[in-house]
Assembly symmetry: C2
Homo-oligomer: 165 residues x 2
């Protein structure tokens, strides 16, 4: 038998053996094992508490964080290389892309911001908001952080309430 055939046979056998061991491949983390932490002042204004459900680099290039914003709290301006989805799970908040209107979001809304677009998201001035954020890292980067959202930007008039209904 030729040597390369043996190599292929060995590789096939090893792949087959690996396929018998997927039990280790499912990984489960419980809520009790994970930790929440206050969002850093460089990236947030006000009180935001973030819990990462999974992080890029652990198993894939996806990150998901559940973030609770107290009234008045918001992210700084920032972007993401592959865009970002927000799933609003409770409360009422505001989102805005650079140069666009501030928009109202509420529980059940899903927000998409495309790659590279600077934006911010947070609670309204009077109500808290909680969302799951899902985004993908590219070349090890989750995005770029810009300046804080000023009170003037934050308190700007919201786009007509019916605009996204």
């Amino acid at each position: 038998m030729r040597k390369d055939v043996l190599v292929i046979a060995a590789l096939t056998a090893s792949l087959f053996a690996a396929s018998l061991l997927p039990a280790q491949s499912i990984e489960i983390s419980s809520a009790a094992e994970r930790t929440s932490a206050r969002g850093p002042e460089t990236a947030y204004t006000g009180l935001a508490i973030a819990e990462f459900l999974f992080r890029a680099g652990e198993a894939s290039d996806l990150t998901a964080g559940e973030i609770s914003f107290e009234p008045g709290a918001r992210t700084a301006w920032h972007n993401h290389p592959a865009g970002q989805y927000l799933i609003v799970t409770s409360g009422v908040g505001w989102v805005q892309a650079r140069g666009g209107p501030k928009r109202l979001v509420r529980a059940g809304d899903v927000v998409w911001t495309p790659p590279g677009v600077f934006h911010w998201h947070g609670a309204t001035a009077t109500q808290g908001m909680r969302h799951l954020a899902v985004w993908r890292f590219v070349d090890g980067s989750g995005g770029e952080l810009g300046e804080h959202v000023s009170d003037e930007e934050y308190l700007a008039e919201v786009e007509a309430a019916d605009a996204n209904e």
Copy 2:
């Protein structure tokens, strides 16, 4: 002025113009706009109701679905080209990778299944389970669908209850 300099100037101007129009780039869908549907019999056993929060191809290659499984309901065996995260949002369920033990999951658990690994997930026989599933399409494919999970596989003994605590 050389022609290539003009081209660069025109490109720069057009990029700058594009950067003035990010308002259209944030997209918001409300829960009321989306629809739920029963999971097809080819892919599920029993009653599972799925709501897609976003779908690969709409704006990115990511898909997220919130799926409610009635007691006894489960997916068929299947895999995903870039793996899959499940975020269990309520109830109690079972998950299993091919060749591995059946494991118990409950609200708050996050389950990772690596790329290509055949697995199934669903409610327990006596309690419902709801989870958000997040996975990435590769080359237009969300994964491969295998055979249904037999009652014998489904009702197999669960791994020791403390194993993932």
